[in-house]
Symmetry: D2
Subunit: 148 residues, 4 copies
Protein backbone atom coordinates (compact mmCIF):
# COMPACT_ATOMS: atom_id res chain seq x y z
CA UNK A 1 0.00 0.00 0.00
CA UNK A 2 3.07 2.18 0.01
CA UNK A 3 2.21 3.62 -3.36
CA UNK A 4 -0.92 5.52 -2.41
CA UNK A 5 -0.52 9.11 -3.44
CA UNK A 6 -1.85 11.39 -0.77
CA UNK A 7 -2.15 15.14 -0.81
CA UNK A 8 -0.28 17.47 1.51
CA UNK A 9 -0.68 16.59 5.18
CA UNK A 10 -1.82 19.38 7.51
CA UNK A 11 -0.23 18.75 10.89
CA UNK A 12 -2.16 21.55 12.61
CA UNK A 13 -5.49 20.01 11.65
CA UNK A 14 -4.30 16.61 12.80
CA UNK A 15 -3.14 17.96 16.14
CA UNK A 16 -6.41 19.77 16.71
CA UNK A 17 -8.41 16.65 15.93
CA UNK A 18 -6.40 14.45 18.26
CA UNK A 19 -6.70 17.03 21.02
CA UNK A 20 -10.44 17.52 20.52
CA UNK A 21 -10.88 13.78 20.91
CA UNK A 22 -9.65 13.93 24.47
CA UNK A 23 -13.25 14.76 25.33
CA UNK A 24 -15.47 14.59 22.28
CA UNK A 25 -19.21 15.27 22.34
CA UNK A 26 -22.15 13.55 20.66
CA UNK A 27 -21.89 9.94 19.57
CA UNK A 28 -18.06 9.85 19.70
CA UNK A 29 -18.33 11.11 23.28
CA UNK A 30 -20.95 8.55 24.22
CA UNK A 31 -18.80 5.79 22.74
CA UNK A 32 -15.69 7.22 24.38
CA UNK A 33 -13.60 7.33 21.21
CA UNK A 34 -10.07 8.69 21.55
CA UNK A 35 -7.68 9.46 18.74
CA UNK A 36 -4.26 8.00 19.49
CA UNK A 37 -2.48 9.20 16.39
CA UNK A 38 -3.37 10.84 13.11
CA UNK A 39 -0.70 10.83 10.45
CA UNK A 40 -0.77 11.06 6.66
CA UNK A 41 -3.42 8.57 5.54
CA UNK A 42 -3.63 6.74 8.87
CA UNK A 43 -5.72 7.25 12.01
CA UNK A 44 -5.52 5.12 15.13
CA UNK A 45 -8.39 5.40 17.60
CA UNK A 46 -9.35 3.51 20.73
CA UNK A 47 -12.43 3.00 22.85
CA UNK A 48 -13.49 0.80 25.73
CA UNK A 49 -16.23 -1.82 25.32
CA UNK A 50 -17.75 -0.82 28.64
CA UNK A 51 -20.69 -2.68 30.11
CA UNK A 52 -23.29 -0.14 28.94
CA UNK A 53 -22.28 -0.77 25.33
CA UNK A 54 -22.96 -4.50 25.47
CA UNK A 55 -26.25 -6.13 24.55
CA UNK A 56 -28.32 -7.93 27.20
CA UNK A 57 -26.54 -11.11 26.01
CA UNK A 58 -23.16 -9.63 26.96
CA UNK A 59 -21.65 -8.95 23.55
CA UNK A 60 -20.69 -5.56 22.17
CA UNK A 61 -23.66 -4.08 20.29
CA UNK A 62 -22.95 -4.21 16.57
CA UNK A 63 -24.11 -0.61 16.26
CA UNK A 64 -21.34 0.46 18.61
CA UNK A 65 -18.77 -1.13 16.36
CA UNK A 66 -20.45 0.40 13.30
CA UNK A 67 -20.37 3.84 14.92
CA UNK A 68 -16.71 3.42 15.84
CA UNK A 69 -15.90 2.40 12.26
CA UNK A 70 -17.90 5.23 10.73
CA UNK A 71 -16.21 7.80 12.90
CA UNK A 72 -12.63 6.76 12.19
CA UNK A 73 -13.40 6.23 8.52
CA UNK A 74 -14.81 9.74 8.27
CA UNK A 75 -12.01 11.52 10.12
CA UNK A 76 -8.82 10.09 8.61
CA UNK A 77 -9.04 12.31 5.56
CA UNK A 78 -9.26 15.72 7.19
CA UNK A 79 -5.57 16.53 7.47
CA UNK A 80 -5.15 15.58 3.82
CA UNK A 81 -7.63 18.07 2.46
CA UNK A 82 -7.15 21.65 1.48
CA UNK A 83 -8.52 24.16 3.97
CA UNK A 84 -12.21 24.66 3.36
CA UNK A 85 -12.73 21.29 1.75
CA UNK A 86 -14.74 18.71 3.59
CA UNK A 87 -15.29 15.01 3.26
CA UNK A 88 -18.48 13.05 3.74
CA UNK A 89 -18.73 9.30 4.04
CA UNK A 90 -21.07 8.09 1.31
CA UNK A 91 -20.97 4.38 1.98
CA UNK A 92 -19.23 1.65 3.85
CA UNK A 93 -19.39 -2.05 4.46
CA UNK A 94 -18.22 -3.99 7.46
CA UNK A 95 -17.80 -7.60 8.49
CA UNK A 96 -18.03 -8.54 12.13
CA UNK A 97 -15.40 -11.22 12.66
CA UNK A 98 -15.73 -12.12 16.34
CA UNK A 99 -17.91 -11.20 19.28
CA UNK A 100 -16.37 -8.81 21.80
CA UNK A 101 -17.35 -9.12 25.47
CA UNK A 102 -15.50 -6.15 26.92
CA UNK A 103 -12.05 -4.55 27.00
CA UNK A 104 -10.18 -2.17 24.76
CA UNK A 105 -10.84 -1.78 21.04
CA UNK A 106 -8.38 -0.28 18.60
CA UNK A 107 -9.37 0.95 15.16
CA UNK A 108 -6.92 1.72 12.44
CA UNK A 109 -8.19 3.61 9.41
CA UNK A 110 -6.00 3.74 6.31
CA UNK A 111 -6.52 5.55 3.04
CA UNK A 112 -6.38 2.98 0.23
CA UNK A 113 -6.83 5.43 -2.61
CA UNK A 114 -7.30 9.14 -2.87
CA UNK A 115 -8.50 11.05 -5.88
CA UNK A 116 -9.52 14.63 -6.42
CA UNK A 117 -13.15 13.94 -5.59
CA UNK A 118 -13.23 10.76 -3.58
CA UNK A 119 -11.20 8.49 -1.36
CA UNK A 120 -11.45 4.88 -0.28
CA UNK A 121 -10.61 4.01 3.30
CA UNK A 122 -10.15 0.68 5.07
CA UNK A 123 -10.78 0.26 8.78
CA UNK A 124 -9.61 -2.66 10.88
CA UNK A 125 -10.67 -3.04 14.49
CA UNK A 126 -8.67 -5.25 16.79
CA UNK A 127 -9.31 -6.53 20.31
CA UNK A 128 -6.53 -8.13 22.28
CA UNK A 129 -4.51 -8.40 19.11
CA UNK A 130 -7.19 -10.22 17.11
CA UNK A 131 -9.04 -8.70 14.18
CA UNK A 132 -12.70 -8.32 15.19
CA UNK A 133 -14.07 -6.10 12.43
CA UNK A 134 -12.99 -5.26 8.87
CA UNK A 135 -14.56 -2.42 6.92
CA UNK A 136 -14.07 -0.34 3.83
CA UNK A 137 -15.87 2.69 2.57
CA UNK A 138 -15.89 5.75 0.36
CA UNK A 139 -15.65 9.45 1.14
CA UNK A 140 -16.68 12.17 -1.25
CA UNK A 141 -14.54 15.28 -1.06
CA UNK A 142 -16.30 18.61 -1.56
CA UNK A 143 -14.99 22.06 -2.18
CA UNK A 144 -16.35 24.87 -0.05
CA UNK A 145 -19.76 26.09 -1.32
CA UNK A 146 -18.37 29.52 -2.14
CA UNK A 147 -14.73 29.14 -2.98
CA UNK A 148 -14.23 32.91 -3.10
CA UNK B 1 -40.72 -9.77 -2.47
CA UNK B 2 -43.96 -11.54 -1.72
CA UNK B 3 -42.39 -14.92 -2.29
CA UNK B 4 -39.95 -14.92 0.61
CA UNK B 5 -40.57 -18.00 2.69
CA UNK B 6 -40.35 -17.15 6.35
CA UNK B 7 -40.58 -19.49 9.30
CA UNK B 8 -43.33 -19.39 11.88
CA UNK B 9 -43.86 -15.97 13.43
CA UNK B 10 -43.81 -15.75 17.23
CA UNK B 11 -46.19 -12.96 18.22
CA UNK B 12 -45.24 -13.10 21.90
CA UNK B 13 -41.59 -12.43 21.12
CA UNK B 14 -42.57 -9.59 18.81
CA UNK B 15 -44.82 -8.01 21.43
CA UNK B 16 -42.12 -8.26 24.07
CA UNK B 17 -39.56 -6.63 21.80
CA UNK B 18 -41.82 -3.73 20.85
CA UNK B 19 -42.67 -3.16 24.50
CA UNK B 20 -39.04 -3.34 25.64
CA UNK B 21 -38.22 -0.65 23.10
CA UNK B 22 -40.41 1.85 24.89
CA UNK B 23 -37.34 2.49 27.06
CA UNK B 24 -34.35 0.53 25.79
CA UNK B 25 -30.91 0.68 27.41
CA UNK B 26 -27.42 0.83 25.95
CA UNK B 27 -26.86 2.23 22.47
CA UNK B 28 -30.52 1.86 21.41
CA UNK B 29 -31.45 3.87 24.49
CA UNK B 30 -28.86 6.55 23.77
CA UNK B 31 -30.12 6.82 20.20
CA UNK B 32 -33.73 6.76 21.36
CA UNK B 33 -34.82 3.96 19.05
CA UNK B 34 -38.46 2.89 19.30
CA UNK B 35 -40.04 -0.09 17.62
CA UNK B 36 -43.29 0.93 15.96
CA UNK B 37 -44.27 -2.47 14.63
CA UNK B 38 -42.75 -5.89 14.27
CA UNK B 39 -44.54 -8.30 11.98
CA UNK B 40 -43.42 -11.37 10.03
CA UNK B 41 -40.25 -10.30 8.21
CA UNK B 42 -40.74 -6.58 8.76
CA UNK B 43 -39.71 -4.19 11.53
CA UNK B 44 -40.48 -0.47 11.60
CA UNK B 45 -38.49 1.64 14.04
CA UNK B 46 -38.20 5.35 14.63
CA UNK B 47 -35.81 7.75 16.30
CA UNK B 48 -35.30 11.48 16.56
CA UNK B 49 -32.22 13.16 15.08
CA UNK B 50 -31.85 15.32 18.15
CA UNK B 51 -29.22 18.03 18.40
CA UNK B 52 -26.77 15.92 20.42
CA UNK B 53 -26.62 13.37 17.60
CA UNK B 54 -25.51 15.89 14.99
CA UNK B 55 -21.90 16.65 14.13
CA UNK B 56 -20.44 20.10 14.82
CA UNK B 57 -21.34 20.89 11.20
CA UNK B 58 -25.01 20.26 11.92
CA UNK B 59 -25.58 16.97 10.08
CA UNK B 60 -26.59 13.69 11.66
CA UNK B 61 -23.45 11.73 12.55
CA UNK B 62 -23.04 8.81 10.15
CA UNK B 63 -22.35 6.53 13.07
CA UNK B 64 -25.80 7.29 14.46
CA UNK B 65 -27.37 6.18 11.21
CA UNK B 66 -25.14 3.10 11.14
CA UNK B 67 -26.15 2.20 14.69
CA UNK B 68 -29.82 2.68 13.85
CA UNK B 69 -29.44 0.44 10.80
CA UNK B 70 -27.50 -2.23 12.67
CA UNK B 71 -30.08 -2.38 15.42
CA UNK B 72 -33.13 -2.77 13.20
CA UNK B 73 -31.29 -5.19 10.91
CA UNK B 74 -30.37 -7.37 13.88
CA UNK B 75 -33.80 -7.43 15.52
CA UNK B 76 -36.19 -8.14 12.65
CA UNK B 77 -35.44 -11.85 12.69
CA UNK B 78 -36.15 -12.69 16.31
CA UNK B 79 -39.85 -13.47 16.07
CA UNK B 80 -39.10 -15.76 13.12
CA UNK B 81 -36.71 -18.04 14.96
CA UNK B 82 -37.38 -21.08 17.05
CA UNK B 83 -37.12 -20.54 20.79
CA UNK B 84 -33.51 -20.82 21.86
CA UNK B 85 -32.09 -19.87 18.48
CA UNK B 86 -30.36 -16.56 18.11
CA UNK B 87 -29.24 -14.44 15.21
CA UNK B 88 -26.07 -12.40 14.88
CA UNK B 89 -25.40 -9.81 12.23
CA UNK B 90 -22.25 -10.82 10.39
CA UNK B 91 -22.00 -8.02 7.90
CA UNK B 92 -23.81 -5.13 6.37
CA UNK B 93 -23.32 -2.35 3.90
CA UNK B 94 -25.00 1.02 3.78
CA UNK B 95 -25.19 3.99 1.47
CA UNK B 96 -25.88 7.42 2.87
CA UNK B 97 -28.15 9.13 0.37
CA UNK B 98 -28.75 12.57 1.87
CA UNK B 99 -27.62 14.56 4.87
CA UNK B 100 -30.13 14.82 7.71
CA UNK B 101 -30.20 17.97 9.84
CA UNK B 102 -32.76 16.98 12.44
CA UNK B 103 -36.27 15.59 12.75
CA UNK B 104 -37.77 12.12 12.79
CA UNK B 105 -36.15 9.11 11.16
CA UNK B 106 -38.01 5.95 10.22
CA UNK B 107 -36.26 2.67 9.49
CA UNK B 108 -37.92 -0.25 7.84
CA UNK B 109 -36.12 -3.59 7.93
CA UNK B 110 -37.36 -6.36 5.64
CA UNK B 111 -36.20 -9.93 5.32
CA UNK B 112 -35.18 -10.54 1.69
CA UNK B 113 -34.29 -14.19 2.09
CA UNK B 114 -34.30 -16.63 4.94
CA UNK B 115 -32.57 -19.97 5.04
CA UNK B 116 -31.94 -22.48 7.77
CA UNK B 117 -28.65 -20.89 8.75
CA UNK B 118 -28.68 -17.35 7.44
CA UNK B 119 -30.92 -14.52 6.41
CA UNK B 120 -30.48 -11.40 4.30
CA UNK B 121 -32.16 -8.21 5.42
CA UNK B 122 -32.64 -4.84 3.75
CA UNK B 123 -33.03 -1.63 5.72
CA UNK B 124 -34.33 1.64 4.33
CA UNK B 125 -34.28 4.80 6.40
CA UNK B 126 -36.53 7.68 5.43
CA UNK B 127 -36.74 11.27 6.63
CA UNK B 128 -39.72 13.41 5.75
CA UNK B 129 -40.69 10.83 3.16
CA UNK B 130 -37.33 10.80 1.38
CA UNK B 131 -34.96 7.85 1.38
CA UNK B 132 -31.82 8.90 3.29
CA UNK B 133 -30.05 5.59 3.81
CA UNK B 134 -30.19 2.17 2.14
CA UNK B 135 -28.55 -0.88 3.65
CA UNK B 136 -28.42 -4.63 3.35
CA UNK B 137 -26.77 -7.24 5.48
CA UNK B 138 -26.57 -10.83 6.60
CA UNK B 139 -27.53 -12.56 9.83
CA UNK B 140 -26.26 -15.96 10.86
CA UNK B 141 -28.77 -18.04 12.76
CA UNK B 142 -27.41 -20.25 15.53
CA UNK B 143 -28.96 -23.07 17.47
CA UNK B 144 -28.63 -23.00 21.24
CA UNK B 145 -25.19 -24.29 22.38
CA UNK B 146 -26.72 -27.31 24.12
CA UNK B 147 -29.82 -28.30 22.26
CA UNK B 148 -30.71 -31.01 24.79
CA UNK C 1 -39.13 5.42 -3.97
CA UNK C 2 -41.45 7.64 -5.96
CA UNK C 3 -39.73 10.75 -4.70
CA UNK C 4 -36.34 10.25 -6.33
CA UNK C 5 -35.54 13.31 -8.37
CA UNK C 6 -33.97 12.32 -11.63
CA UNK C 7 -32.56 14.56 -14.31
CA UNK C 8 -33.95 14.79 -17.80
CA UNK C 9 -34.32 11.45 -19.54
CA UNK C 10 -32.73 11.08 -22.98
CA UNK C 11 -34.88 8.67 -24.97
CA UNK C 12 -32.48 8.55 -27.91
CA UNK C 13 -29.64 7.33 -25.69
CA UNK C 14 -31.92 4.76 -24.10
CA UNK C 15 -33.09 3.47 -27.47
CA UNK C 16 -29.54 3.20 -28.75
CA UNK C 17 -28.46 1.27 -25.66
CA UNK C 18 -31.33 -1.20 -25.86
CA UNK C 19 -30.66 -1.75 -29.54
CA UNK C 20 -26.91 -2.18 -29.06
CA UNK C 21 -27.64 -4.89 -26.52
CA UNK C 22 -29.25 -7.05 -29.14
CA UNK C 23 -25.70 -8.26 -29.82
CA UNK C 24 -23.25 -6.77 -27.37
CA UNK C 25 -19.52 -7.51 -27.40
CA UNK C 26 -17.03 -8.16 -24.64
CA UNK C 27 -18.19 -9.49 -21.29
CA UNK C 28 -21.85 -8.51 -21.84
CA UNK C 29 -21.73 -10.44 -25.08
CA UNK C 30 -20.12 -13.48 -23.47
CA UNK C 31 -22.78 -13.43 -20.74
CA UNK C 32 -25.52 -12.84 -23.31
CA UNK C 33 -27.02 -9.81 -21.57
CA UNK C 34 -30.00 -8.21 -23.29
CA UNK C 35 -31.66 -4.95 -22.31
CA UNK C 36 -35.42 -5.39 -22.20
CA UNK C 37 -36.32 -1.84 -21.28
CA UNK C 38 -34.57 1.31 -20.19
CA UNK C 39 -36.73 4.05 -18.79
CA UNK C 40 -36.07 6.96 -16.42
CA UNK C 41 -34.16 5.48 -13.51
CA UNK C 42 -34.95 1.86 -14.33
CA UNK C 43 -33.25 -0.76 -16.50
CA UNK C 44 -34.49 -4.30 -17.01
CA UNK C 45 -32.03 -6.79 -18.47
CA UNK C 46 -32.11 -10.53 -19.01
CA UNK C 47 -29.65 -13.32 -19.63
CA UNK C 48 -29.68 -17.09 -19.77
CA UNK C 49 -27.81 -19.18 -17.19
CA UNK C 50 -26.54 -21.46 -19.91
CA UNK C 51 -24.50 -24.57 -19.15
CA UNK C 52 -21.12 -22.94 -19.88
CA UNK C 53 -21.77 -20.35 -17.16
CA UNK C 54 -22.26 -22.93 -14.41
CA UNK C 55 -19.51 -24.22 -12.15
CA UNK C 56 -18.45 -27.88 -12.30
CA UNK C 57 -20.91 -28.39 -9.41
CA UNK C 58 -23.79 -27.20 -11.57
CA UNK C 59 -24.55 -23.82 -10.03
CA UNK C 60 -24.27 -20.45 -11.76
CA UNK C 61 -20.78 -19.05 -11.18
CA UNK C 62 -20.97 -16.15 -8.74
CA UNK C 63 -18.77 -14.09 -11.01
CA UNK C 64 -21.38 -14.36 -13.75
CA UNK C 65 -23.98 -12.91 -11.42
CA UNK C 66 -21.54 -10.23 -10.31
CA UNK C 67 -20.80 -9.30 -13.90
CA UNK C 68 -24.51 -9.16 -14.72
CA UNK C 69 -25.10 -6.91 -11.71
CA UNK C 70 -22.17 -4.64 -12.51
CA UNK C 71 -23.30 -4.19 -16.08
CA UNK C 72 -26.90 -3.24 -15.33
CA UNK C 73 -25.82 -1.07 -12.40
CA UNK C 74 -23.41 0.84 -14.62
CA UNK C 75 -25.78 1.37 -17.55
CA UNK C 76 -29.02 2.54 -15.93
CA UNK C 77 -27.75 6.08 -15.52
CA UNK C 78 -26.73 6.90 -19.08
CA UNK C 79 -30.03 8.26 -20.37
CA UNK C 80 -30.22 10.51 -17.30
CA UNK C 81 -26.97 12.32 -17.89
CA UNK C 82 -26.23 15.34 -19.95
CA UNK C 83 -24.52 14.65 -23.25
CA UNK C 84 -20.79 14.34 -22.69
CA UNK C 85 -21.10 13.29 -19.07
CA UNK C 86 -20.21 9.77 -18.14
CA UNK C 87 -20.73 7.59 -15.12
CA UNK C 88 -18.36 5.09 -13.57
CA UNK C 89 -19.26 2.51 -10.97
CA UNK C 90 -17.04 3.09 -7.95
CA UNK C 91 -18.31 0.37 -5.67
CA UNK C 92 -21.03 -2.15 -5.15
CA UNK C 93 -22.06 -4.88 -2.80
CA UNK C 94 -24.14 -7.93 -3.50
CA UNK C 95 -25.74 -10.76 -1.58
CA UNK C 96 -26.32 -14.08 -3.28
CA UNK C 97 -29.67 -15.32 -2.02
CA UNK C 98 -30.11 -18.68 -3.75
CA UNK C 99 -28.18 -20.92 -6.06
CA UNK C 100 -29.27 -20.89 -9.70
CA UNK C 101 -28.96 -24.05 -11.77
CA UNK C 102 -30.00 -22.76 -15.15
CA UNK C 103 -32.81 -20.86 -16.85
CA UNK C 104 -33.57 -17.21 -17.38
CA UNK C 105 -32.31 -14.43 -15.13
CA UNK C 106 -33.87 -10.98 -14.97
CA UNK C 107 -32.08 -8.00 -13.44
CA UNK C 108 -33.81 -4.80 -12.54
CA UNK C 109 -31.63 -1.79 -11.75
CA UNK C 110 -33.27 1.21 -10.10
CA UNK C 111 -31.79 4.58 -9.20
CA UNK C 112 -32.30 5.13 -5.45
CA UNK C 113 -30.76 8.59 -5.32
CA UNK C 114 -29.19 10.89 -7.83
CA UNK C 115 -27.08 13.91 -7.09
CA UNK C 116 -24.99 16.18 -9.20
CA UNK C 117 -21.88 14.08 -8.76
CA UNK C 118 -23.01 10.63 -7.73
CA UNK C 119 -25.90 8.22 -7.82
CA UNK C 120 -26.86 5.16 -5.84
CA UNK C 121 -28.41 2.24 -7.67
CA UNK C 122 -30.07 -0.95 -6.47
CA UNK C 123 -30.10 -4.12 -8.52
CA UNK C 124 -32.36 -7.10 -7.93
CA UNK C 125 -31.95 -10.31 -9.90
CA UNK C 126 -34.83 -12.75 -10.06
CA UNK C 127 -35.07 -16.30 -11.36
CA UNK C 128 -38.46 -17.91 -11.87
CA UNK C 129 -39.99 -15.11 -9.81
CA UNK C 130 -37.73 -15.57 -6.80
CA UNK C 131 -35.14 -13.02 -5.74
CA UNK C 132 -31.70 -14.63 -6.19
CA UNK C 133 -29.37 -11.65 -5.80
CA UNK C 134 -29.66 -8.18 -4.22
CA UNK C 135 -27.07 -5.50 -4.80
CA UNK C 136 -26.49 -1.82 -4.35
CA UNK C 137 -23.72 0.44 -5.49
CA UNK C 138 -22.49 3.91 -6.31
CA UNK C 139 -21.74 5.64 -9.58
CA UNK C 140 -19.64 8.76 -9.88
CA UNK C 141 -20.77 11.15 -12.57
CA UNK C 142 -18.06 13.03 -14.44
CA UNK C 143 -18.19 15.97 -16.75
CA UNK C 144 -16.35 15.72 -20.03
CA UNK C 145 -12.59 16.40 -19.57
CA UNK C 146 -12.73 19.54 -21.69
CA UNK C 147 -16.16 21.04 -21.33
CA UNK C 148 -15.40 23.69 -23.96
CA UNK D 1 -3.21 -10.76 10.31
CA UNK D 2 -0.78 -13.36 11.58
CA UNK D 3 -3.20 -14.51 14.23
CA UNK D 4 -5.90 -15.95 12.02
CA UNK D 5 -6.50 -19.53 13.00
CA UNK D 6 -6.94 -21.66 9.94
CA UNK D 7 -7.81 -25.32 9.74
CA UNK D 8 -5.53 -27.99 8.33
CA UNK D 9 -4.21 -27.19 4.87
CA UNK D 10 -4.71 -29.82 2.17
CA UNK D 11 -1.78 -29.57 -0.22
CA UNK D 12 -3.23 -32.09 -2.67
CA UNK D 13 -6.36 -30.02 -3.15
CA UNK D 14 -4.29 -26.89 -3.57
CA UNK D 15 -2.05 -28.52 -6.18
CA UNK D 16 -5.04 -29.83 -8.11
CA UNK D 17 -6.66 -26.40 -8.14
CA UNK D 18 -3.54 -24.62 -9.34
CA UNK D 19 -3.07 -27.20 -12.07
CA UNK D 20 -6.70 -27.09 -13.18
CA UNK D 21 -6.35 -23.35 -13.60
CA UNK D 22 -3.80 -23.80 -16.32
CA UNK D 23 -6.80 -24.08 -18.64
CA UNK D 24 -10.03 -23.45 -16.78
CA UNK D 25 -13.45 -23.55 -18.41
CA UNK D 26 -16.52 -21.35 -18.05
CA UNK D 27 -16.17 -17.78 -16.85
CA UNK D 28 -12.68 -18.30 -15.37
CA UNK D 29 -11.61 -19.62 -18.76
CA UNK D 30 -13.18 -16.71 -20.64
CA UNK D 31 -11.43 -14.27 -18.30
CA UNK D 32 -8.18 -16.25 -18.52
CA UNK D 33 -7.66 -16.56 -14.79
CA UNK D 34 -4.57 -18.46 -13.67
CA UNK D 35 -3.72 -19.50 -10.14
CA UNK D 36 -0.12 -18.61 -9.36
CA UNK D 37 -0.01 -19.99 -5.83
CA UNK D 38 -2.42 -21.36 -3.28
CA UNK D 39 -1.14 -21.66 0.25
CA UNK D 40 -2.83 -21.73 3.65
CA UNK D 41 -5.26 -18.82 3.65
CA UNK D 42 -3.79 -17.11 0.59
CA UNK D 43 -4.43 -17.40 -3.13
CA UNK D 44 -2.62 -15.42 -5.82
CA UNK D 45 -4.21 -15.35 -9.26
CA UNK D 46 -3.47 -13.45 -12.43
CA UNK D 47 -5.24 -12.52 -15.63
CA UNK D 48 -4.66 -10.29 -18.61
CA UNK D 49 -6.87 -7.26 -19.28
CA UNK D 50 -6.99 -8.11 -22.96
CA UNK D 51 -8.72 -5.89 -25.48
CA UNK D 52 -11.93 -7.93 -25.61
CA UNK D 53 -12.45 -7.35 -21.87
CA UNK D 54 -12.40 -3.56 -22.16
CA UNK D 55 -15.46 -1.39 -22.64
CA UNK D 56 -15.91 0.61 -25.84
CA UNK D 57 -14.32 3.51 -23.90
CA UNK D 58 -11.14 1.50 -23.42
CA UNK D 59 -11.33 0.69 -19.69
CA UNK D 60 -11.58 -2.76 -18.17
CA UNK D 61 -15.24 -3.68 -17.75
CA UNK D 62 -16.15 -3.57 -14.07
CA UNK D 63 -17.88 -6.90 -14.39
CA UNK D 64 -14.60 -8.48 -15.42
CA UNK D 65 -12.99 -7.22 -12.25
CA UNK D 66 -15.99 -8.37 -10.22
CA UNK D 67 -15.80 -11.83 -11.77
CA UNK D 68 -12.06 -12.03 -11.08
CA UNK D 69 -12.67 -11.01 -7.45
CA UNK D 70 -15.55 -13.44 -6.99
CA UNK D 71 -13.53 -16.33 -8.35
CA UNK D 72 -10.45 -15.84 -6.17
CA UNK D 73 -12.60 -15.08 -3.14
CA UNK D 74 -14.51 -18.30 -3.59
CA UNK D 75 -11.51 -20.57 -4.19
CA UNK D 76 -9.07 -19.59 -1.45
CA UNK D 77 -10.88 -21.65 1.16
CA UNK D 78 -10.93 -25.05 -0.53
CA UNK D 79 -7.63 -26.44 0.72
CA UNK D 80 -8.64 -25.42 4.26
CA UNK D 81 -11.82 -27.46 4.38
CA UNK D 82 -12.36 -31.04 5.33
CA UNK D 83 -12.95 -33.39 2.41
CA UNK D 84 -16.58 -33.29 1.43
CA UNK D 85 -17.19 -29.80 2.78
CA UNK D 86 -17.81 -27.01 0.35
CA UNK D 87 -17.87 -23.25 0.55
CA UNK D 88 -20.20 -20.84 -1.17
CA UNK D 89 -19.73 -17.10 -1.42
CA UNK D 90 -22.77 -15.44 0.11
CA UNK D 91 -21.84 -11.82 -0.32
CA UNK D 92 -19.05 -9.47 -1.20
CA UNK D 93 -18.35 -5.82 -1.68
CA UNK D 94 -15.75 -4.18 -3.84
CA UNK D 95 -14.39 -0.73 -4.47
CA UNK D 96 -12.91 0.11 -7.84
CA UNK D 97 -9.91 2.33 -7.14
CA UNK D 98 -8.53 3.13 -10.59
CA UNK D 99 -9.41 2.47 -14.18
CA UNK D 100 -7.35 -0.21 -15.93
CA UNK D 101 -6.64 0.13 -19.65
CA UNK D 102 -4.87 -3.16 -20.27
CA UNK D 103 -1.99 -5.27 -18.98
CA UNK D 104 -1.62 -7.84 -16.25
CA UNK D 105 -3.83 -8.00 -13.17
CA UNK D 106 -2.87 -9.78 -9.98
CA UNK D 107 -5.41 -10.71 -7.31
CA UNK D 108 -4.44 -11.77 -3.84
CA UNK D 109 -7.16 -13.33 -1.68
CA UNK D 110 -6.49 -13.68 2.03
CA UNK D 111 -8.62 -15.28 4.73
CA UNK D 112 -9.26 -12.66 7.43
CA UNK D 113 -11.24 -14.92 9.75
CA UNK D 114 -12.34 -18.50 9.64
CA UNK D 115 -14.98 -20.11 11.80
CA UNK D 116 -16.68 -23.46 11.74
CA UNK D 117 -19.46 -22.24 9.50
CA UNK D 118 -18.20 -19.15 7.76
CA UNK D 119 -15.10 -17.30 6.68
CA UNK D 120 -14.32 -13.74 5.70
CA UNK D 121 -11.93 -13.12 2.84
CA UNK D 122 -10.26 -9.98 1.53
CA UNK D 123 -9.20 -9.59 -2.08
CA UNK D 124 -6.83 -6.97 -3.41
CA UNK D 125 -6.21 -6.55 -7.12
CA UNK D 126 -3.11 -4.76 -8.30
CA UNK D 127 -2.01 -3.52 -11.69
CA UNK D 128 1.58 -2.44 -12.28
CA UNK D 129 2.07 -2.38 -8.53
CA UNK D 130 -0.88 -0.10 -7.78
CA UNK D 131 -3.99 -1.21 -5.95
CA UNK D 132 -6.89 -1.05 -8.41
CA UNK D 133 -9.63 -2.92 -6.55
CA UNK D 134 -10.28 -3.81 -2.90
CA UNK D 135 -12.94 -6.29 -1.87
CA UNK D 136 -14.13 -8.29 1.06
CA UNK D 137 -16.75 -10.98 1.37
CA UNK D 138 -18.17 -13.92 3.24
CA UNK D 139 -18.20 -17.63 2.50
CA UNK D 140 -20.54 -20.08 4.14
CA UNK D 141 -19.03 -23.49 4.75
CA UNK D 142 -21.35 -26.49 4.36
CA UNK D 143 -20.97 -30.09 5.34
CA UNK D 144 -21.78 -32.69 2.72
CA UNK D 145 -25.56 -33.30 2.46
CA UNK D 146 -25.23 -36.90 3.63
CA UNK D 147 -22.27 -37.11 5.94
CA UNK D 148 -22.54 -40.90 6.16
Amino acid sequence: MSDVELGAFDQAIADAMVQAHGAPGGLPGYLGIRFESLTAGRLVATMEARRELLTPLGALHGGVMAGFVDHTLGCVLYPLMKRGQWAATTEFKLNYLRAVQGGALRAEARVLAMGRRSAVVRVEVTHEGALVCAAQGTLLVSDPPSSG
